[in-house]
Assembly symmetry: C2
Homo-oligomer: 417 residues x 2
Amino acid sequence: MRTGIEVEEARRLVLDGVAPLPAETVATVDALGRVLAAPVASGRTLPPADCSAMDGWALRAADLASASRAAPRRLRAAFEVPAGGRAPRPLRPGEAARIFTGAALPPGADSVVMQEDAVAEGAEVAFVAAPARGEHVRLAGEDVRAGDEVLAAGTKLGPAQLGVLASLGRSVVRVHRRPHVAILSGGDELVEPDEDVAGGRIVASNAYSLAAQCAEAGALATNLGIARDTREELERGLAAGLGADLLVSSAGVSVGDHDHVRPVLEKLGCRLVFWGVAMKPGFPLTFGRFDDGRGPLVFGLPGNPVSAMVTFELFVRPVLLRLGGQRVLTRPVLRAVLGETLRKNPGRLHFVRVTLAREGERFVAKSTGNQSSGVLRSMALAQGLLVFPAAASELAQGATAEVIVLDADVLAAPEPA
Amino acid sequence: MRTGIEVEEARRLVLDGVAPLPAETVATVDALGRVLAAPVASGRTLPPADCSAMDGWALRAADLASASRAAPRRLRAAFEVPAGGRAPRPLRPGEAARIFTGAALPPGADSVVMQEDAVAEGAEVAFVAAPARGEHVRLAGEDVRAGDEVLAAGTKLGPAQLGVLASLGRSVVRVHRRPHVAILSGGDELVEPDEDVAGGRIVASNAYSLAAQCAEAGALATNLGIARDTREELERGLAAGLGADLLVSSAGVSVGDHDHVRPVLEKLGCRLVFWGVAMKPGFPLTFGRFDDGRGPLVFGLPGNPVSAMVTFELFVRPVLLRLGGQRVLTRPVLRAVLGETLRKNPGRLHFVRVTLAREGERFVAKSTGNQSSGVLRSMALAQGLLVFPAAASELAQGATAEVIVLDADVLAAPEPA
């Protein structure tokens, strides 16, 4: 097992060999945000026939060749084509058919004139200009032809993709399964949110913030509850999560006597890959895996609330996204101007919780205050994580630094005036 | 009723008087993405007492004043403070107590030395350096004090906020109600996805793409189904949606004889505010409201799939976000370089569906192809909507234009090398 590795190396190790989960079949209406596990080919041609893009009159463009405002051309109003219905017969030269958006052109017609550009006069219709041939006609297959690949494997299903699937009559769809995550909290001092905190007990709140981080990454989280800090309880708790795709423990945060997590994981058959990443917050991170896929990927996260969230963000989130089939595993990163001078001891890479304020074209980053890894409130205020390089000891006010954007609302355009 | 208004004016009219919906009480675990309707004050002080931030030894800093590597100072190992438990008695001068992360400091102790910096020697512990007073101690109330406002009204609940609520023992929370949207499809040619499309029928796919757009905006959509294009069926269908917060119809797309939607809305008591917005796709958009809040906000969207999605994006989405209590109603907008020359007739503002490719520091926008508003595939490929100003007729390759970013993945940082 390696220890004290760099952040990028840790990221490489956790993603090593991670591939999208197998496919499952789900209802298209429930597939928002999921990723296609197989390409979708169309069984239909859309539009199925040449059809009108407007409410108006279907006709032959050649019949209006001489039409002008000075000398309108009149055609016989022959029949009406109902939307979703068929023309009773082909259109003859000198005739126009009333037609509505989406209705199939009658045989013989080649163009549509918008109703605003025509005047019905009893059994006739007057036109003052000739349309271009094919005007306001949507050609058969303009959207899709039967057999075309319409959506590629790996496509993320948003509203437009779901609309396309519906239009093809695909009411079920093959998507990558969502990752299942089991979350275990470990510690003698922990209680559930509805329990008494007298005597220095604290709520196992990590299970709640981590479950929400799982949900945002498209995963399904199971809260295994709290294990007391004995080998037996931890083994029972961790064993209960071995059926998941990913097992997250926020017990045994440090190197203390009470850190039973690592030996218990090894007893369960987990191969520990690394312990400790050169970062702050979050050094005491453990990662392990079961050989040949015989168990979940295992993350032993630090117990401090901020450390748990930051290490989840950097290492667990990209794994969950890739398991779900997503191709984009990163957040937006912007270069922000420091609104105040930041200092630290050189050595470890720091992720500083910052707010981001838009000032004209640039963003100004300021610390959310107390950067103690126990202070979850500072994480609740954070819109980004500022990357304070390992070797640096000072980032001066007015200098720039990279910030990982946690709150996408930061990037939204200012309201129109 | 006004007609042919500009996009910004339409946006102002639809948002006029829209306020967040009333509060409801929901389980905190189900509140991800919701917005607080009332501030949350803490009933607890966290940490509840001065406690250790490390596994190590609690002691008095003054006892180690003279400690050095050359002359280590030894303290008596007095007792152990269990995590979540209490010290059996105060710490006396010359003593150190074994302590674990999160445990309350024994009375008398003021500092913690990490266990890595101490050597246990039987009944004694040797230290080679003096800590700063207060080192590795989290002070009572460092995170939050009882009575503090912890989260302000209007706060969006992300993972960190849910963790904070859990840590305060708040298992339920007051949030703005989610908007309810009723969606009616209208047209004789429409069928459901599992029905036969023979004879020029088409699937009412708008109900599916619009419902997904509702879900992305935090709203709950009800699909009212398909109404045939008669006054009676439309009235029955629209009346079924009057209990919603927002009623969306994608029937009666144009000004045709079959456009019964507007008179039916007026008969139901809806006051039409405008019809027609100077944009493409999407001109034939109707907006109405019921006076004194006696009914839903009503949007009559164009029937063409792309027009329906684009008008939803520009006008319905911000309304839903504000109803749900969100403060940010816009998408990110970036200035992209045109990868090809775009042309149109001057007059209307166009929203061109484009892909966005990152090239170094800039984004290059290219049309997704056929911009016919019937071609939903082009919307499925679109990562953004390029704003082609009304008066312009050409945007030359290499020029820049504003693009509304629909797919936030576009903004993600490139993968680390």
